[in-house]
């Protein structure tokens, strides 16, 4: 089926409130599987499987100099690799715009929600702080890498323990029992518009025919910490309002997966 045919098929189903994989419009794929400690060499790591989409996220810690404008705050670096292993459409090479967007959307949700208590990551003001390296790797892309990555990232951070240090050196491979100082947990819900309907957790086929996309990162008290509009068409304010309400409800559901 070509893209126009697929689009007609998907949207004619959606107009009857049915999705190509049998879900209703506002259902996430089920079950959502979460596995911890993907790598024992990570300070924290997690695997998330949503339908057939699979991603892993891992945290490595180091110590180093803070940025001059935030001398008493730890540093967060988020990277994402769209592995060519995970899709015939991904190619080897430095992160492309899609990978960069993914990393930055996840970064904003975590950073702006204040999930990590960066002040507590200061070891010596202006000289030495903890640096958190969060890296996301896609294993199988069947759509909605953003929500799967956001969930994997939050789970990995929540399971992160600090490595031992000696003076200004990290003893890699040796861990303390001390957890990363965390305050909140932002979760991301991605909504897609196809013709006049809104759906959540788009599969790859749905992403291919979507008109517009909105990813919303929501933390515990329903604060919105990050937004990212994607897709080739615009969205109305009315739709955005609806999408916020749905994202708030759906991230509450996703939150049940955090222990």
């Amino acid at each position: 089926m070509n893209e126009d045919g697929l689009k007609d098929y998907i949207s004619s189903l959606i107009s009857k409130n049915i999705r190509i994989d049998g879900r209703s419009l506002l259902d996430y794929r089920k079950p959502i599987k979460i596995e911890l400690n993907v790598s024992k060499n990570a300070e924290g790591s997690a695997r998330v499987i949503m339908g057939e989409t699979e991603v892993i996220a891992g945290v490595k810690m180091n110590i180093g100099e803070p940025f001059p404008d935030t001398p008493d705050e730890g540093v967060l670096m988020v990277g994402a690799e769209l592995l060519p292993l995970s899709s015939p459409e991904f190619e080897p090479g430095p992160p492309n715009p899609q990978a960069t967007e993914l990393a930055r959307v996840i970064d904003r949700g975590i950073r702006e929600s204040g999930m990590i208590d960066v002040k507590k990551l200061c070891i010596k003001k202006g000289e030495l702080v903890w640096m958190v390296f969060l890296d996301i790797y896609t294993i199988n892309d069947d759509g909605n890498l953003i929500d799967a990555s956001a969930l994997a990232s939050v789970v990995a951070l929540r399971n992160t323990v600090l490595p031992k240090i000696e003076g200004d050196k990290v003893l890699f491979g040796e861990h303390t029992k001390e957890k990363l100082p965390l305050k909140k947990a932002p979760l991301t819900c991605t909504l897609v518009k196809i013709k006049d309907k809104i759906i959540v957790d788009p599969s790859l086929k749905e992403e291919k025919v979507m008109d517009a996309r909105l990813s919303v990162a929501v933390s515990e008290n329903n604060e919105i910490n990050a937004l990212q509009k994607g897709g080739d068409k615009g969205i109305s304010i009315e739709d955005i309002e609806k999408m916020f309400d749905i994202a708030t409800e759906k991230t509450k559901e996703l939150r049940k997966h955090l222990h």
Binding site: S39, N41, E43, E52, E54, G58, N62, L85, P92
Partner: protein, 235 residues
């Protein structure tokens, strides 16, 4: 003197091995291979069209291999992206698999193999080759036989099979020799050495490698059969 192995194995004993195929749905073939605490996945895409067109060979298909480690697969964070080590490993991996394949059936195309190390505890290139060979078979690429690989070497004064990280880092000296062998022809398709061994020691180590690879071949075949037997039962 290295009298007892760190993990109490016999000198000619491999770590625990686990193998599985068909783990990545979007790939044409895929596999998971774990040996001890080393965990690797591999995916095969192709034969598919090769671009740019000038790379196409009307006589035979091209095999391309990328070996990569996740940043958190090792204790000291690895920067994402290729480095000199990973580029060399990609090359020798390609060369270790190529002799098992007949790519003349796939002119003008490419078969891409992507290997990702999820958790590293020595022997990652060998685990990568084991996973890649299974992924090729899972993708239905005709092969002479599966390729298995394992590291052998010398830890202290002992010749051992399948060095783990503690053994690779052994203070009193450690030599690592990764070996890959095609199952039925017993051709050696990967041979590297990093350390210090004499001719007799190397030949002794090669005998161990042959034993280790033949055990791995059985496990690889079993994993492939498990997938395709269960497909048959479902029909």
């Amino acid at each position: 003197m290295y009298s007892k192995r760190f993990d109490n194995r016999k000198l000619d004993e491999t770590r625990e091995i686990e193998a599985k195929v068909g783990i990545i749905k979007r790939a044409d073939g895929s596999a998971y291979f774990r040996i001890g605490d080393t965990k690797v996945i591999a995916a095969v895409y192709g034969p598919r069209e090769l671009y740019p067109v000038f790379l196409q060979n009307p006589e035979k298909g091209l095999l391309r291999c990328v070996y990569d480690m996740t940043s958190f697969s090792v204790t000291d964070r690895k920067r994402p992206g290729p480095n000199r080590r990973s580029i060399e490993i990609s090359l020798v991996t390609e060369k270790s698999l190529l002799p098992a394949l007949d790519l003349s059936q796939f002119p003008n195309t490419v078969i891409d193999i992507f290997i990702e190390v999820i958790q590293a505890d020595a022997g990652t290139r060998c685990a990568g080759i084991c996973a890649a060979a299974m992924a090729l078979a899972d993708a239905g690429i005709p092969m002479k036989d599966l390729v298995a690989a394992i590291s052998v070497g010398k830890v202290g004064d002992k010749i051992v099979l399948d060095l783990n990280k503690d053994e690779e880092d052994y203070e009193e000296g450690s030599t690592d020799m990764p070996v890959a062998i095609i199952g039925n022809t017993e051709e050696i398709t990967l041979l590297q050495l990093d350390g210090d061994m004499n001719k007799e020691e190397i030949l002794e180590a090669l005998r161990l490698a042959k034993k280790g690879c033949s055990e791995i071949h059985k496990i690889q075949k079993k994993a492939l059969k498990e997938k395709y037997m269960s497909v048959k039962e479902n029909e």
